[in-house]
Protein backbone atom coordinates (compact mmCIF):
# COMPACT_ATOMS: atom_id res chain seq x y z
CA UNK A 1 0.00 0.00 0.00
CA UNK A 2 1.28 3.47 -0.81
CA UNK A 3 2.11 5.26 2.44
CA UNK A 4 1.40 8.69 0.88
CA UNK A 5 -2.26 7.81 0.35
CA UNK A 6 -2.77 6.59 3.90
CA UNK A 7 -0.88 9.40 5.70
CA UNK A 8 -3.25 11.35 7.96
CA UNK A 9 -2.86 15.04 8.71
CA UNK A 10 -2.27 15.69 12.45
CA UNK A 11 -5.28 18.07 12.43
CA UNK A 12 -7.73 15.62 10.91
CA UNK A 13 -9.05 14.72 7.46
CA UNK A 14 -9.81 18.34 6.43
CA UNK A 15 -6.59 20.27 7.22
CA UNK A 16 -7.27 23.27 4.94
CA UNK A 17 -10.80 23.69 6.27
CA UNK A 18 -9.50 23.40 9.85
CA UNK A 19 -6.80 26.04 9.22
CA UNK A 20 -9.33 28.36 7.54
CA UNK A 21 -11.77 27.94 10.42
CA UNK A 22 -8.96 28.71 12.88
CA UNK A 23 -8.05 31.83 10.91
CA UNK A 24 -11.67 32.96 10.79
CA UNK A 25 -12.01 32.52 14.56
CA UNK A 26 -8.77 34.47 15.08
CA UNK A 27 -10.01 37.19 12.71
CA UNK A 28 -13.30 37.52 14.58
CA UNK A 29 -11.54 37.49 17.96
CA UNK A 30 -9.22 40.20 16.69
CA UNK A 31 -12.18 42.26 15.39
CA UNK A 32 -13.78 42.34 18.84
CA UNK A 33 -10.56 42.82 20.85
CA UNK A 34 -8.75 45.95 22.03
CA UNK A 35 -5.88 45.16 19.65
CA UNK A 36 -8.02 46.26 16.71
CA UNK A 37 -7.86 49.94 17.75
CA UNK A 38 -4.05 49.79 18.04
CA UNK A 39 -3.64 48.18 14.62
CA UNK A 40 -6.16 50.61 13.09
CA UNK A 41 -4.21 53.60 14.41
CA UNK A 42 -0.93 52.13 13.16
CA UNK A 43 -2.41 51.70 9.66
CA UNK A 44 -3.14 55.42 9.11
CA UNK A 45 0.34 56.23 7.69
CA UNK A 46 -0.06 53.37 5.22
CA UNK A 47 -3.37 54.76 3.98
CA UNK A 48 -1.85 58.27 3.75
CA UNK A 49 0.98 56.78 1.70
CA UNK A 50 -1.52 55.05 -0.61
CA UNK A 51 -2.90 58.44 -1.65
CA UNK A 52 0.61 59.58 -2.64
CA UNK A 53 1.15 56.63 -5.00
CA UNK A 54 0.63 56.86 -8.77
CA UNK A 55 -2.72 55.09 -8.38
CA UNK A 56 -3.76 57.61 -5.76
CA UNK A 57 -2.64 60.54 -7.92
CA UNK A 58 -4.54 59.28 -10.99
CA UNK A 59 -7.63 58.42 -8.94
CA UNK A 60 -7.78 61.87 -7.34
CA UNK A 61 -6.84 63.89 -10.43
CA UNK A 62 -8.88 62.32 -13.22
CA UNK A 63 -12.50 61.61 -12.36
CA UNK A 64 -12.90 59.85 -15.72
CA UNK A 65 -10.11 57.38 -14.92
CA UNK A 66 -11.58 56.73 -11.48
CA UNK A 67 -15.08 56.14 -12.93
CA UNK A 68 -13.67 53.85 -15.65
CA UNK A 69 -11.87 51.72 -13.06
CA UNK A 70 -15.08 51.70 -11.01
CA UNK A 71 -16.93 50.35 -14.06
CA UNK A 72 -14.23 47.65 -14.45
CA UNK A 73 -14.70 46.82 -10.76
CA UNK A 74 -18.46 46.49 -11.25
CA UNK A 75 -18.17 44.35 -14.38
CA UNK A 76 -15.65 42.00 -12.76
CA UNK A 77 -17.83 41.83 -9.64
CA UNK A 78 -20.74 40.91 -11.89
CA UNK A 79 -18.69 38.13 -13.51
CA UNK A 80 -17.53 36.90 -10.08
CA UNK A 81 -21.14 36.87 -8.90
CA UNK A 82 -22.25 35.09 -12.06
CA UNK A 83 -19.62 32.37 -11.52
CA UNK A 84 -20.63 31.97 -7.86
CA UNK A 85 -24.36 31.83 -8.64
CA UNK A 86 -23.82 29.38 -11.50
CA UNK A 87 -21.55 27.03 -9.57
CA UNK A 88 -23.48 27.21 -6.27
CA UNK A 89 -26.78 27.00 -8.14
CA UNK A 90 -25.55 23.73 -9.64
CA UNK A 91 -24.54 22.48 -6.17
CA UNK A 92 -28.06 23.35 -4.98
CA UNK A 93 -29.51 21.12 -7.68
CA UNK A 94 -30.39 23.69 -10.37
CA UNK A 95 -29.42 23.10 -14.03
CA UNK A 96 -29.00 19.41 -13.18
CA UNK A 97 -28.60 18.47 -16.87
CA UNK A 98 -25.22 20.24 -16.92
CA UNK A 99 -22.20 18.14 -15.84
CA UNK A 100 -21.47 18.92 -12.18
CA UNK A 101 -17.67 18.53 -12.29
CA UNK A 102 -17.24 20.63 -15.45
CA UNK A 103 -19.50 23.37 -14.08
CA UNK A 104 -17.60 23.53 -10.77
CA UNK A 105 -14.12 23.48 -12.34
CA UNK A 106 -14.98 25.86 -15.19
CA UNK A 107 -16.71 28.34 -12.86
CA UNK A 108 -13.75 28.30 -10.47
CA UNK A 109 -11.41 29.41 -13.28
CA UNK A 110 -13.72 32.33 -14.10
CA UNK A 111 -14.08 33.10 -10.38
CA UNK A 112 -10.28 33.31 -9.91
CA UNK A 113 -9.79 35.72 -12.82
CA UNK A 114 -12.74 37.87 -11.80
CA UNK A 115 -11.48 37.98 -8.20
CA UNK A 116 -8.02 39.11 -9.41
CA UNK A 117 -9.58 41.99 -11.39
CA UNK A 118 -11.91 42.89 -8.51
CA UNK A 119 -8.94 43.11 -6.11
CA UNK A 120 -6.71 45.05 -8.55
CA UNK A 121 -9.39 47.62 -9.44
CA UNK A 122 -10.43 47.76 -5.78
CA UNK A 123 -6.88 48.64 -4.69
CA UNK A 124 -6.79 51.38 -7.36
CA UNK A 125 -10.09 52.81 -6.11
CA UNK A 126 -8.97 52.73 -2.47
CA UNK A 127 -5.77 54.61 -3.37
CA UNK A 128 -7.84 57.51 -4.73
CA UNK A 129 -9.81 57.92 -1.50
CA UNK A 130 -7.61 56.07 1.00
CA UNK A 131 -7.88 58.40 4.00
CA UNK A 132 -11.63 58.83 3.51
CA UNK A 133 -12.32 55.07 3.49
CA UNK A 134 -9.89 54.56 6.39
CA UNK A 135 -12.42 56.36 8.62
CA UNK A 136 -15.47 54.49 7.23
CA UNK A 137 -16.57 51.49 9.35
CA UNK A 138 -18.31 49.95 6.31
CA UNK A 139 -14.96 49.81 4.47
CA UNK A 140 -13.56 47.63 7.24
CA UNK A 141 -16.68 45.46 7.21
CA UNK A 142 -16.06 44.98 3.49
CA UNK A 143 -12.41 44.03 4.10
CA UNK A 144 -13.53 41.58 6.79
CA UNK A 145 -16.17 39.97 4.54
CA UNK A 146 -13.75 39.86 1.60
CA UNK A 147 -11.17 38.06 3.75
CA UNK A 148 -13.84 35.65 4.96
CA UNK A 149 -15.02 35.14 1.36
CA UNK A 150 -11.53 34.37 0.02
CA UNK A 151 -10.69 32.01 2.91
CA UNK A 152 -14.06 30.29 2.53
CA UNK A 153 -13.76 29.96 -1.25
CA UNK A 154 -10.23 28.53 -1.32
CA UNK A 155 -9.93 26.70 2.01
CA UNK A 156 -13.44 25.45 2.76
CA UNK A 157 -15.53 25.29 -0.41
CA UNK A 158 -12.77 24.31 -2.88
CA UNK A 159 -11.40 21.33 -0.88
CA UNK A 160 -14.97 20.14 -0.34
CA UNK A 161 -16.12 20.32 -3.97
CA UNK A 162 -12.83 18.79 -5.19
CA UNK A 163 -13.80 15.56 -3.44
CA UNK A 164 -15.99 12.89 -4.94
CA UNK A 165 -19.31 14.56 -4.10
CA UNK A 166 -21.23 11.29 -4.12
CA UNK A 167 -19.55 10.56 -0.77
CA UNK A 168 -20.45 13.91 0.81
CA UNK A 169 -23.73 14.59 2.58
CA UNK A 170 -26.13 16.52 0.28
CA UNK A 171 -26.98 18.74 3.25
CA UNK A 172 -23.32 19.75 3.67
CA UNK A 173 -23.06 20.51 -0.06
CA UNK A 174 -26.21 22.65 -0.03
CA UNK A 175 -25.21 24.50 3.14
CA UNK A 176 -21.80 25.24 1.61
CA UNK A 177 -23.44 26.61 -1.55
CA UNK A 178 -25.84 28.81 0.43
CA UNK A 179 -23.00 30.08 2.64
CA UNK A 180 -20.91 30.87 -0.45
CA UNK A 181 -23.73 32.87 -2.08
CA UNK A 182 -24.39 34.75 1.17
CA UNK A 183 -20.72 35.59 1.75
CA UNK A 184 -20.22 37.03 -1.75
CA UNK A 185 -23.53 38.87 -1.65
CA UNK A 186 -22.38 40.47 1.61
CA UNK A 187 -19.04 41.43 0.04
CA UNK A 188 -20.87 43.14 -2.85
CA UNK A 189 -23.47 44.80 -0.61
CA UNK A 190 -20.89 46.25 1.81
CA UNK A 191 -18.90 47.48 -1.20
CA UNK A 192 -21.97 49.25 -2.54
CA UNK A 193 -22.60 50.78 0.85
CA UNK A 194 -19.14 52.40 0.83
CA UNK A 195 -20.43 54.58 -2.01
CA UNK A 196 -23.34 55.77 0.12
CA UNK A 197 -21.24 56.60 3.19
Amino acid sequence: MNSATTRQSPIGPYPRAAIATGLLVLLLAFSFSGMRAEVWTALLPFFEWMETTWFGYVGKTWGGAFATIQAGHLVSLGVLGGAVLFSDGRLLGLYSSLPLRDVIDGSHQVFKWALAVVVFTGVFMVCGVAVKVYYLPVFWYKMLTLTVGVLFAFYVRKPLVDRDLSGVSPLVIKLTAIASIMVWFTVAATGRWIGFS
Binding site: A67, T68, L85, F86, G89, L98, V103, G106, S107, W184
Partner: protein, 189 residues
Protein backbone atom coordinates in the same frame (compact mmCIF):
# COMPACT_ATOMS: atom_id res chain seq x y z
CA UNK B 1 -38.38 66.32 -29.59
CA UNK B 2 -36.08 67.51 -26.79
CA UNK B 3 -38.81 69.88 -25.60
CA UNK B 4 -41.29 66.98 -25.46
CA UNK B 5 -38.83 64.82 -23.52
CA UNK B 6 -38.22 67.72 -21.11
CA UNK B 7 -41.94 68.32 -20.61
CA UNK B 8 -42.61 64.65 -19.82
CA UNK B 9 -39.58 64.52 -17.48
CA UNK B 10 -40.68 67.75 -15.74
CA UNK B 11 -44.20 66.33 -15.31
CA UNK B 12 -42.75 63.15 -13.76
CA UNK B 13 -40.50 65.27 -11.57
CA UNK B 14 -43.54 67.14 -10.20
CA UNK B 15 -45.26 63.96 -9.02
CA UNK B 16 -45.18 63.22 -5.31
CA UNK B 17 -43.70 59.73 -5.69
CA UNK B 18 -40.73 61.03 -7.64
CA UNK B 19 -39.95 63.51 -4.88
CA UNK B 20 -40.52 60.84 -2.24
CA UNK B 21 -37.99 58.43 -3.80
CA UNK B 22 -35.46 61.19 -4.51
CA UNK B 23 -35.60 62.60 -0.99
CA UNK B 24 -35.61 59.27 0.84
CA UNK B 25 -32.01 58.40 1.66
CA UNK B 26 -32.75 54.74 2.38
CA UNK B 27 -35.31 54.07 -0.37
CA UNK B 28 -33.18 55.63 -3.12
CA UNK B 29 -30.06 53.82 -1.95
CA UNK B 30 -31.90 50.50 -1.63
CA UNK B 31 -33.17 50.84 -5.19
CA UNK B 32 -29.71 51.79 -6.48
CA UNK B 33 -28.01 49.00 -4.52
CA UNK B 34 -30.51 46.47 -5.92
CA UNK B 35 -29.90 47.83 -9.42
CA UNK B 36 -26.14 47.38 -9.04
CA UNK B 37 -26.15 44.07 -7.14
CA UNK B 38 -28.43 42.47 -9.72
CA UNK B 39 -25.45 42.81 -12.07
CA UNK B 40 -24.26 39.54 -10.57
CA UNK B 41 -27.39 37.75 -11.75
CA UNK B 42 -27.97 39.44 -15.11
CA UNK B 43 -24.64 40.59 -16.48
CA UNK B 44 -22.58 37.98 -14.65
CA UNK B 45 -24.53 35.13 -16.20
CA UNK B 46 -24.72 36.83 -19.61
CA UNK B 47 -20.92 37.21 -19.60
CA UNK B 48 -20.51 33.54 -18.66
CA UNK B 49 -22.59 32.58 -21.72
CA UNK B 50 -20.67 35.03 -23.95
CA UNK B 51 -17.31 33.75 -22.69
CA UNK B 52 -18.42 30.16 -23.31
CA UNK B 53 -19.35 31.07 -26.90
CA UNK B 54 -15.92 32.63 -27.38
CA UNK B 55 -14.19 29.56 -25.95
CA UNK B 56 -12.80 31.50 -22.97
CA UNK B 57 -14.66 29.61 -20.23
CA UNK B 58 -16.42 26.34 -19.41
CA UNK B 59 -15.11 24.55 -22.53
CA UNK B 60 -16.49 21.16 -21.45
CA UNK B 61 -20.04 22.36 -20.91
CA UNK B 62 -22.42 22.24 -23.87
CA UNK B 63 -22.78 25.84 -25.06
CA UNK B 64 -26.39 25.72 -26.14
CA UNK B 65 -27.53 23.79 -23.09
CA UNK B 66 -25.69 26.32 -20.91
CA UNK B 67 -27.45 29.20 -22.67
CA UNK B 68 -30.84 27.48 -22.38
CA UNK B 69 -30.49 26.64 -18.67
CA UNK B 70 -29.17 30.06 -17.66
CA UNK B 71 -31.71 31.99 -19.70
CA UNK B 72 -34.35 32.15 -16.96
CA UNK B 73 -32.18 33.37 -14.04
CA UNK B 74 -30.52 35.86 -16.40
CA UNK B 75 -33.88 37.22 -17.54
CA UNK B 76 -35.07 37.50 -13.93
CA UNK B 77 -31.95 39.55 -13.26
CA UNK B 78 -32.59 41.82 -16.23
CA UNK B 79 -36.26 42.32 -15.22
CA UNK B 80 -35.16 43.42 -11.72
CA UNK B 81 -32.53 45.72 -13.26
CA UNK B 82 -35.12 47.15 -15.64
CA UNK B 83 -37.66 47.86 -12.88
CA UNK B 84 -35.09 49.42 -10.55
CA UNK B 85 -33.63 51.37 -13.49
CA UNK B 86 -37.07 52.85 -14.26
CA UNK B 87 -37.46 53.80 -10.58
CA UNK B 88 -34.02 55.47 -10.57
CA UNK B 89 -34.99 57.44 -13.69
CA UNK B 90 -38.35 58.34 -12.14
CA UNK B 91 -36.57 59.67 -9.03
CA UNK B 92 -34.41 62.10 -11.06
CA UNK B 93 -36.16 62.39 -14.44
CA UNK B 94 -35.08 65.81 -15.75
CA UNK B 95 -31.38 65.49 -15.07
CA UNK B 96 -31.36 61.88 -16.33
CA UNK B 97 -33.18 62.71 -19.57
CA UNK B 98 -30.71 65.55 -20.20
CA UNK B 99 -27.66 63.40 -19.45
CA UNK B 100 -25.44 62.59 -22.41
CA UNK B 101 -24.36 59.33 -20.74
CA UNK B 102 -27.93 58.28 -20.01
CA UNK B 103 -28.84 58.81 -23.67
CA UNK B 104 -25.84 56.79 -24.90
CA UNK B 105 -26.77 54.07 -22.40
CA UNK B 106 -30.36 53.92 -23.70
CA UNK B 107 -29.19 53.65 -27.34
CA UNK B 108 -26.74 50.87 -26.42
CA UNK B 109 -29.45 49.02 -24.49
CA UNK B 110 -31.56 48.95 -27.66
CA UNK B 111 -28.53 47.77 -29.69
CA UNK B 112 -27.85 45.02 -27.11
CA UNK B 113 -31.50 43.90 -27.18
CA UNK B 114 -31.38 43.59 -31.00
CA UNK B 115 -28.03 41.78 -30.77
CA UNK B 116 -29.46 39.36 -28.16
CA UNK B 117 -32.47 38.63 -30.39
CA UNK B 118 -30.26 37.95 -33.46
CA UNK B 119 -27.82 35.92 -31.36
CA UNK B 120 -30.59 33.73 -29.95
CA UNK B 121 -32.12 33.19 -33.41
CA UNK B 122 -28.78 32.22 -34.97
CA UNK B 123 -27.96 29.94 -32.06
CA UNK B 124 -31.30 28.12 -32.28
CA UNK B 125 -30.91 27.66 -36.05
CA UNK B 126 -27.38 26.25 -35.90
CA UNK B 127 -27.11 24.54 -32.50
CA UNK B 128 -27.15 20.95 -33.77
CA UNK B 129 -23.91 21.41 -35.74
CA UNK B 130 -21.59 22.76 -33.01
CA UNK B 131 -23.27 22.20 -29.63
CA UNK B 132 -20.25 20.55 -27.97
CA UNK B 133 -17.51 22.40 -29.87
CA UNK B 134 -15.11 24.43 -27.71
CA UNK B 135 -16.03 27.63 -29.61
CA UNK B 136 -19.22 28.80 -31.29
CA UNK B 137 -19.24 29.56 -35.06
CA UNK B 138 -17.82 32.90 -36.18
CA UNK B 139 -21.19 34.71 -36.48
CA UNK B 140 -22.13 33.82 -32.91
CA UNK B 141 -18.67 34.74 -31.61
CA UNK B 142 -19.08 38.19 -33.15
CA UNK B 143 -22.43 38.53 -31.39
CA UNK B 144 -20.84 37.46 -28.08
CA UNK B 145 -18.02 40.00 -28.50
CA UNK B 146 -20.51 42.78 -29.30
CA UNK B 147 -22.49 41.80 -26.22
CA UNK B 148 -19.39 41.82 -23.96
CA UNK B 149 -18.15 45.15 -25.34
CA UNK B 150 -21.43 47.03 -25.38
CA UNK B 151 -22.55 45.86 -21.96
CA UNK B 152 -19.21 46.98 -20.53
CA UNK B 153 -19.78 50.42 -22.09
CA UNK B 154 -23.34 50.44 -20.68
CA UNK B 155 -21.94 49.89 -17.16
CA UNK B 156 -19.38 52.62 -17.86
CA UNK B 157 -22.12 55.05 -18.98
CA UNK B 158 -24.09 54.12 -15.86
CA UNK B 159 -21.13 55.17 -13.72
CA UNK B 160 -20.57 58.35 -15.74
CA UNK B 161 -24.20 59.49 -15.20
CA UNK B 162 -23.24 60.21 -11.59
CA UNK B 163 -20.68 62.81 -12.71
CA UNK B 164 -21.66 66.31 -13.86
CA UNK B 165 -19.07 66.87 -16.62
CA UNK B 166 -21.66 67.38 -19.39
CA UNK B 167 -24.64 68.57 -17.36
CA UNK B 168 -26.86 71.15 -19.10
CA UNK B 169 -26.62 73.57 -16.16
CA UNK B 170 -22.99 74.29 -17.11
CA UNK B 171 -21.71 75.88 -20.36
CA UNK B 172 -21.17 73.07 -22.91
CA UNK B 173 -20.07 72.83 -26.57
CA UNK B 174 -22.97 73.00 -29.06
CA UNK B 175 -22.58 69.33 -30.01
CA UNK B 176 -22.83 68.17 -26.40
CA UNK B 177 -25.86 70.43 -25.86
CA UNK B 178 -27.54 68.95 -28.92
CA UNK B 179 -26.80 65.33 -27.98
CA UNK B 180 -27.77 65.80 -24.34
CA UNK B 181 -30.96 67.63 -25.30
CA UNK B 182 -30.18 70.82 -23.38
CA UNK B 183 -32.80 73.57 -23.72
CA UNK B 184 -31.90 77.15 -22.77
CA UNK B 185 -32.97 77.91 -19.23
CA UNK B 186 -34.78 74.61 -18.83
CA UNK B 187 -32.99 72.21 -16.54
CA UNK B 188 -33.47 70.87 -13.03
CA UNK B 189 -31.48 68.74 -10.67
Amino acid sequence: MNQLIFDIAAWLDDTAWSTAIHESYYLYNWIEATHVLTLMLSLGILFLIDMRMLGWALPNVSATRLAERLNTPMLIGFVVMFITGILLFYAVPVRSSQSLWFRIKMVLLVVCAINAYLFHRRMTQSMSTWENAPRAPSELRKGALISLGFWTVIVLCGRFIAYDWYDCEYPQPDMVRALAGCIDGQTRF
